[in-house]
């Protein structure tokens, strides 16, 4: 069971103040805590668990700048066997399509049964890369997996996976999919392990393979902002619209007011 898991380093803005740079092309990043995309962390755990059950090799792959190597090292410490870093200044400004094209180029020629991605990313959040990969590599896709089991399968020579995934109205479906396949992983599919000190120790000397655009056989026009199909015009803070009537005062006053409102407008 060889698995490639595609991951991304993203900013966690949950505790940060959002300040848009002048010109609206980027955010002030000083306050950001960076780390692996939450969905991708579940994908790495899913890959490592499958390897622990069935053997094989798990390769973690990311596209990004030098700092982004940290998520690969993290994936190795969690139990991935190999890491591939698609790193080239020309990748800057890539959209989901560009990321998927570069990943697809790196994946082609490797032997794998499963290609795992996080279902969406915490930053752009379009949920496209997995589906693009399936399209580019002509593989079947299962999006939003909440349970993943595999039968046989050894390096792209067949086998099937049973995947439970989310559809509409709170329903889930169980499908059987031929391998190799692309599966995008939803949060909650497992309980991702911590990166342990022993894990870090084990991979202290591990090599991360670095591939640039030329190594992937991609032309300059296909890379980064040059190859982006979706371009950013402007970032802005969401209009507050009508928004909530925000209650002010001491806790005591606020709660008193709230009880009144629940009574009058909520019909309590």
């Amino acid at each position: 069971m060889n698995i490639i898991v595609c991951i991304k380093r993203v900013a966690d803005t949950s505790e940060a103040e959002i300040v848009i740079q002048r010109g609206g092309q980027g955010l002030e990043e000083e306050d950001f805590a960076w780390g692996i995309n939450e969905w991708d962390n579940f994908a790495v755990e899913a890959a490592v668990q499958l390897k622990e059950q069935h053997g094989g090799v798990v390769t973690a792959m990311t596209l990004g700048g030098e700092d982004d190597e940290e998520v690969l090292r993290r994936a190795l410490a969690m139990g991935c066997d190999e890491a591939v870093h698609l790193c080239d200044e020309a990748f800057a400004g890539a959209d989901a399509w560009g990321i998927a094209k570069a990943l697809a180029a790196a994946v082609r020629g490797r032997s794998y049964d499963l290609l795992l991605c996080g279902a969406v990313s915490g930053d752009a959040g379009g949920g496209q890369v997995g589906g693009f990969l399936a399209g580019l590599l002509d593989l079947p896709l299962v999006a939003l997996a909440t349970c993943l089991e595999v039968g046989s399968g050894n390096g792209g020579t067949g086998g099937v996976a049973r995947v439970r995934h989310e559809v509409e109205s709170g329903l889930e479906r169980v499908v059987e999919v031929d391998l190799p396949a692309v599966v995008t992983v939803q949060t909650g599919i497992n309980e991702p392990r911590y990166v342990s000190i022993r894990g870090i120790r084990k991979v202290a000397g591990a090599e991360v393979q670095v591939l640039d655009g030329a190594a992937l056989g991609l032309q300059a026009a296909e890379l980064g902002s040059a190859g982006a199909r979706v371009r950013l015009e402007e970032l802005f803070l969401p209009p507050r619209g009508e928004g909530a009537e925000v209650l002010e005062g001491s806790d005591e006053e606020i709660v008193q007011r709230l009880v009144e409102m629940l009574h009058q407008r909520g019909g309590l």
Binding site: E70, A77, Y194, V195, S196, I197, G199, I200, R201
Partner: protein
Amino acid sequence: MHFELDKGQKDIQRAARDFAKGEFDKELALQLEKDHAYPEKIWKKACAEGFIGLHFPDEYGGSDYGILENALVVEEFCRRDSGIGAALLTAHFACEIILHHGSPEQKSNYLPRVTGGECLSAGAFTEPMHGSDITSMSTTAVRDGDDWLINGVKTFITNAGHCGFYVVLVQTDVDAKHRGESMFVVDADLPGIEVASVGEKMGLKMIPTGEVSLKNVRVPGSALLGIENQGFYQVLQFFDESRIEVAAQAVGTAQGAFDRALEYIKGREQFGIKIAKFQAIQHKLAEMATQLELARLITYKAAWLADHKKPDTKLSAMAKYYAGKVASEVASESIQMFGGYGYITEFEVERFYRDARITEIYEGTREIQKNIIAGQVLGKLP
């Protein structure tokens, strides 16, 4: 010369940060503190993930890392929570003495139990009449056949009553003062050991601290730790290392208080403006940030020297003295920035302050550190 952690060290820093973020919870910390309860579950998990004793060799359940890596973990843990952080960093207290001076049997008997989360360890050095002065001990060990009989009282003992064993400093040659001190590893469940409370503490409320009295505690000859009558020197060597860990505790505690104050002043408005815009606040913030940076630098340097086989007594003392001072000052100023809220337990900074104060007291008060630094600077006076 370069001032950057290497990739592996950054990995460790991030792993510790993730673990602390995932496991340390504010409400839980407040409750544990109130209940004077040890963070048992978190400690077991920290052991399972390899955080406790990561600077011990592989064969004893460590990961062969150095003092700097341990300091990074301690810093991250204390930054997230000064109380839980302190409880975890003291889980392996005094084990370094076994590591450096223990027999192979002692090492393989005791160290894996600590790294594996089976038990806590404790160091019993301080005595009621001596405090930070360890140049002579009232507690004695006297030969009785192949065994030793230990008698005396040790006080302010971290993990007393909750540990698997004590590393005890005793007088084996009563006439030789510090040249007659030795160390023993004493199992905590031996007959004759009794633990009493030292009273309510200002901080470190999750950690049990007690008075340990030893009455005719019989230990075998194999319990002697290191060389007979070399105990004093063994302790001094240990302190050179452990003070770096306390310095890291201080840096983390200071940073944690600073983080909270920073977040608060960015959000808090007074007289219609964010208080972060007041110059008085900004200047205070600048001082705190600078102090923190210096404390961290000297701590890392002391750790780096120790890891490169150049342990420096003076620098370890400086690191502990300075980082401890910074922790107390930064935590205190953080309370000030919070104003009235800073005085309320909910807002955490008062706890960081109370936990910071110990770093100027234990493992040698700041006055002792100054004595050491002055002694090293002056050399032998004629």
